[in-house]
């Protein structure tokens, strides 16, 4: 990676860098530790309650991810240009997720279990499907 020689900053930028270099990183680190511990015990306590589990854990995960982005990736200190890059990305990511929703709601059809499925001429033609168990070589 080539390096950028940053010009000596004027006072305003120097002040901003000063604020950035003194950001409360250790407090953020402690916050991330607390949320990781909360996640750990929350997952143990609510492991049998799927909806509560997903909602609670995703809430904690998004808070943690937000802390990393806001403080460590310096979103707090950047200008609007970075949001011009991030916003379309998040929009496209959201669209992609919504575009997958029909597939997500497509449930497995039990009637298509191999035992219930009559053997077709195509299935006979294909025969045994190849396996990709590359680890089998370790057992030999």
């Amino acid at each position: 990676m080539s390096d950028q020689a940053v010009a000596i900053p004027p006072d305003a930028v120097a002040a901003e860098i000063e604020a950035e270099s003194h950001a409360p990183y250790l407090k953020v680190w402690f916050g991330l530790l607390v949320f990781t511990v909360i996640e750990y015990f929350y997952a143990r306590i609510f492991k049998d309650y799927f909806t509560l589990l997903v909602l609670g854990l995703m809430f904690c995960a998004l808070i943690k991810a937000g802390m990393v982005g806001w403080y460590f990736m310096h979103l707090k200190f950047e200008g609007n240009w970075v949001y011009i890059l991030i916003a379309p990305t998040l929009l496209l990511a959201t669209i992609l997720t919504f575009a997958l929703m029909p597939d997500m709601s497509l449930k497995y059809d039990e009637s298509e279990d191999r035992a219930a499925e009559p053997e077709t001429s195509n299935a006979r033609a294909i025969g045994t499907r190849p396996t990709f168990d590359f680890m089998a070589v370790l057992d030999s």
Partner: protein
């Protein structure tokens, strides 16, 4: 390389997000953010595919008594036992008793014995299960009845369907978070022109990041080779990408993330070595900032992946 375009307007030094002035923008930083935007799409695609596969998985895809590919409809009336300890019984005698009761091949029985304390014997009638438990007790082994439990996806903390160690990975998650902190402290140090401190923090980031990769390699080794798992996890006793959709998803997602972390460690080593030559100072730290952005991003992604793959 061209100098960064640093333009400013009157500033505030408060701790809220500044909107009345600009932080230095370098072409390298913009390029890194564009790259990270593509990475967001990449991991969104991975996570989206995972959700599709998980949601579309059969409601009877995983069970405590049978391998993930088993058609549960064919074996639903049967029950099983769980061998929790060989106790004073010899492994050979226990294996012989299990083989005699089930008619399984010596290799299959060997896998059951290797998986103790989670040795699962399925496909038994209630009468045969009770008789086998009595026989094993007479040999000094401990076994309990295990009724068929079916899941649509392996449950966290269920040792009979899910081999993932949440304790180890939760610790490893925190290790990666610590490396993010040392990374940002390295940047902070060089912004104050403290070169030695910056190098020390970069070295710490390399070591801690390397530790994360090391733990992941250890985890992969245990899953694929070192540990024997019950049949509900894998018919072969080892958790490898081919044993189930869950395994394929797990190795794809954590593998791609691990590759990103490994690339980050290599980049970090290069930056650390350059820092020893005195290349960086308070007017020239863009490389450290850009590598740091990448490093924090892989940390951020892992926070999401850990939650989705391990905890849910």
């Amino acid at each position: 390389m061209a100098h960064a375009d640093v333009s400013t307007t009157p500033a505030s030094t408060g701790h809220g997000r500044s909107t009345d002035h600009k932080h230095p923008i370098t072409p390298g930083k913009v390029a890194m953010w564009v790259f990270l935007a593509t990475e967001v799409m990449f991991f969104t695609g991975l996570i989206g595919s995972y959700i599709v596969l998980r949601a579309g998985s059969s409601a009877r895809g995983y069970s405590n008594l049978y391998a993930p590919t088993t058609n549960i409809a064919e074996v639903e009336g049967a029950t099983g036992i769980l061998i929790t300890s060989l106790g004073g019984g010899s492994a050979e005698a226990v294996a012989e008793a299990v083989g005699h009761a089930t008619g399984q091949t010596p290799e299959q029985v060997e896998r059951i014995i290797a998986a103790v304390p989670h040795g699962v014997v399925g496909g038994l009638s209630h009468g045969h299960a009770k008789a086998l438990i009595d026989r094993l007790s007479a040999l000094g082994a401990k076994a309990v009845p295990e009724e068929l439990v079916i899941h649509g996806w392996p449950k966290p903390y269920d040792h009979l369907t899910n081999p993932l160690s949440i304790d180890l990975t939760a610790l490893n998650t925190f290790v990666l978070i610590c490396s993010s902190v040392t990374m940002v402290l390295a940047l902070s140090a060089i912004q104050e022109n403290k070169k030695s401190k910056c190098s020390a923090y970069l070295l710490a980031t390399v070591v801690i990041g390397g530790a994360f990769v090391g733990v992941q390699v250890y985890e992969y080794y245990q899953l694929m080779i070192g540990h024997h798992y019950p049949v509900g996890i894998s018919a072969t006793g080892h958790f490898r990408p081919s044993v189930s959709i869950f395994a394929s998803c797990f190795f794809t997602m954590t593998g791609f993330h691990g590759a990103h972390v490994s690339a980050g460690v290599i980049a970090m080593i290069a930056v650390f070595l350059q820092s020893l030559t005195g290349k960086y100072n308070k007017a020239n730290y863009a490389t450290i900032e850009n590598v740091g952005l990448y490093w924090h991003f892989v940390d951020l992604v892992w926070i999401i992946l850990f939650t989705i793959v391990y905890l849910v």
